[in-house]
């Protein structure tokens, strides 16, 4: 066999290092007149499936903005990468700010990774929009001045589904077993679920913490049956949800399965006839309003499938960022934070406009409980869900389903 000598390796290494040293300044010069924005989202691992939708949404938004002349005449330079895991996400965020010259960052689905990016943002005094992370703690005890949160928090998801379950008489006096994703998001969601159960006279008779890389749920399902609950509740994330729902249908248990977290992409991957129960969502492509319809049509035309809720959230986030930079004529963090803290209203493709709450930077918006469409009524394979009434109900204060100042321990340092 061939063995490369150390000398050859050394030469190759030097040549490689040399090439990259010569190469990079040229790239920097060429792009000086552009606005650089860093985007991180998991493309691998248990959230990679929904992350791939997120990337489609953000690409489309950037292309549209650039095609219409960019922001203040400058083209957006979108750097979108796989965030991989919390440690890598943090390293990449730091690199994007320090070396690549990103003026701000956005993205992420994993609450654990989002937390590490939030710390990088704060350290570097750059704005970060956490688009898909749902842990309450991020906008609660871990909140900071530079981080904004676009997706609905766990408490809102629990409230959305809980309201619907209460109406069906599935909560009061019932015994619940929960299956929980074993990382910050799941722990946080379980906490919100427990608060809901105790406020509504339900008992939690069992909880299973499940590692994020588990694909076979059969041992857990056997334990669920042993507990003999009235309702099984899924607090899992990403691929876990898809796997659980498929295997739950496989075993065919009589206990209804509901859940406090589901993304449309996970539902689409489940296969015919597997999903049932009541779940929450933040946006769905059948929402009936002009902005949403136009977006769904353009996205479907471009990619041959409708947008998933992460495609939507990345899309509206980049559009909000572009609007903020245009209105403030600045990419400075202080100017942008002040702009969003004025609680500027944005059309986010829902019947009511959304705004970032000034004191915890949460995007306040409607949420929806949903049930599953019977097969005969589906228009196509994407048309799986029947949205319930938006929560909070029309006429009620939009903030009614969000934690109040006394409930949410967010204390931002100036």
């Amino acid at each position: 066999m061939t063995r490369y000598s150390r000398r050859t390796l050394l030469k190759a290494g030097a040549a490689f290092a040399g090439a990259s040293a010569i190469g990079s300044p040229a790239i920097l010069r060429a792009q000086a007149a552009r606005i650089k924005i860093g985007h991180l989202v998991p493309l691998t691992g248990f959230l990679g499936a929904i992350g791939s939708y997120a990337q489609l949404g953000v690409k489309m938004a950037a292309e549209e903005i650039n095609a219409s002349g960019g922001i203040m005449g400058k083209q957006i330079d979108l750097m979108s990468e796989d965030s991989v895991n919390p440690a890598t996400a943090s390293t990449k965020a730091q690199r994007m700010i320090e070396q690549d010259g990103a003026v701000l960052l956005f993205g992420e689905i994993s609450s654990a990774s989002s937390l590490t990016i939030m710390q990088v943002a704060e350290r570097n005094k750059k704005v970060f929009f956490s688009t898909g992370a749902r842990s309450d703690a991020l906008r609660g005890k871990d909140c900071n001045r530079y981080s904004f949160h676009c997706d609905i928090p766990n408490t809102v998801m629990v409230n959305a589904v809980g309201t619907a379950l209460n109406q069906k008489g599935m909560v009061k006096g019932k015994k619940f077993v929960t299956l929980t994703a074993d990382y910050i998001f799941g722990h946080d969601l379980l906490k919100a679920a427990k608060a809901f159960f105790s406020a509504n006279d339900a008992t939690l008779i069992g909880d299973e913490l499940i590692a994020t890389d588990v694909t076979d749920f059969s041992p857990y399902l056997l334990k669920v049956r042993q507990a003999k609950p009235d309702v099984v509740c899924c607090n899992l994330a990403g691929n876990q949800v898809t796997n659980l729902v498929k295997q739950y249908a496989e075993f065919g248990f009589p206990y209804p399965l509901v859940g406090f977290n589901l993304n449309t992409g996970d539902a689409w991957a489940m296969g015919e006839g597997n999903l049932s129960g009541t779940w929450p969502t933040v946006w769905y492509h059948t929402l009936d309003n002009p902005a949403s319809k136009a977006f769904v049509e353009a996205f479907s035309k471009k990619y041959g499938k409708p947008p998933e809720n992460h495609a939507w959230i990345e899309y509206i986030t980049l559009k909000m960022i572009a609007q903020a930079i245009t209105d403030t004529k600045s990419t400075e963090s202080d100017a942008l934070i002040a702009y969003f803290e004025k609680q500027t209203q944005f059309d986010i493709m829902k019947s009511r406009k959304g705004y970032f709450r000034s004191w915890d930077h949460q995007l306040v918006q409607e949420a929806y409980p949903f049930t599953v469409k019977p097969k005969g009524e589906m228009k196509d394979k994407w048309d799986m869900l029947v949205l319930g009434e938006a929560v909070p109900a029309a006429g009620a204060e939009l903030e009614a389903i969000y934690p109040t100042k006394t409930q949410n321990p967010c204390n931002m340092k100036a």
Partner: protein, 291 residues
């Protein structure tokens, strides 16, 4: 009652072990005969799943379970003829690198052909639900898997132990030089072993597509467990791999019963313990060419 629940976990663990076995047995055979650590084995498992989902759309689930492994086994011929064959006598690190590369190329190819989002698959109606034996519960679909795995296992055992093909393969594992001296070329046998190995992996993929998420990285997820099984079982031993697969399934089930959060860690602890006591694996044979 507690005992009944535990027994249920043990039986379920055995069924799960059967599924690990489909992937691990091929991995073990390819290593034993060719000396190649096939890091691309998971990729064939993923291909098996994707191809079966495609075939199911047109010909139904039954045909998919049969045709998908055959299609992937045919791909295995190309894999052996054009890639593996060059590395039998090379430094093992090279075959490790080439199969690792192939795993990545296959994963990306799947992304290009089927897209990055997972695709959907469901169990046929007739196999849904559970069978009850008294208070005992079995998933109907997993019973089907168990039956097929048992049949495949029997087939492979007969092939290796009761045919002239098997005799050459087993001799080739221990003393390839002697086999060569007797005027037998091992290469066609190796092609057959690779076909068999990747075909079994594809069968595993086809069976698990309806009950787990079908996405491009699914191969990378399964390969680690398969390696753990091979390492615990020991090289060159048919029954070692069988035993190890069952053991891994059962240990995982029992751990989840008592300490759910430790479920995934338990199989690595098991591997650690086995290697401490028996560095060659449970029933591993001494194979001169690897010493």
């Amino acid at each position: 009652m507690q005992f009944g629940f535990l027994l249920e976990q043990v039986v379920n663990g055995l069924v799960l072990g059967g599924y690990y076995l489909l992937i691990a047995l091929g991995l073990s055979l390819i290593f034993s005969v060719g000396g190649i650590v096939n890091l691309a084995h998971g990729a064939f498992y993923a291909l098996g799943a994707y191809v079966s989902v495609e075939i199911t759309k047109y010909l139904g689930f039954g045909s998919a379970i049969v045709l998908s492994p055959i299609a992937v086994a045919l791909l295995g011929i190309l894999f052996e003829r054009f890639i593996l064959r060059r590395f039998y006598d090379a430094d093992p690190i090279l075959s490790l690198l080439v199969t690792f590369g192939l795993a990545m190329v296959t994963e990306q190819a799947i992304r290009i052909i089927w897209g990055a989002p997972p695709i959907s698959a469901a169990i046929p109606q007739s196999f849904r639900g559970s069978v009850f034996l008294g208070d005992f519960l079995f998933s109907r679909y997993r019973l089907l898997i168990l039956a097929v795995v048992a049949a495949v296992l029997l087939g492979v055992w007969l092939l290796l132990h009761k045919t002239s093909f098997g005799r050459v393969v087993r001799a080739g594992i221990q003393r390839p030089d002697m086999v060569a001296a007797l005027g037998i070329r091992l290469q066609p046998y190796m092609t057959a072993i690779v076909m068999l190995g990747v075909g079994m992996a594809a069968l595993g993929g086809a069976f698990f597509a309806p009950i787990t998420i079908v996405h491009p990285a699914m191969g990378a997820e399964i390969i680690t467990v398969a390696f753990v099984v091979v390492v615990i079982g020991g090289l060159g031993s048919f029954w070692g791999v069988v035993l190890a697969a069952m053991l891994v399934g059962v240990v995982r089930g029992i751990t989840i019963h008592f300490a759910p959060a430790a479920g995934e860690a338990s199989i690595y602890v098991l591997m650690f313990l086995v290697l401490m006591v028996r560095p060659r694996g449970l029933l591993g044979e001494r194979i001169e060419k690897f010493e």
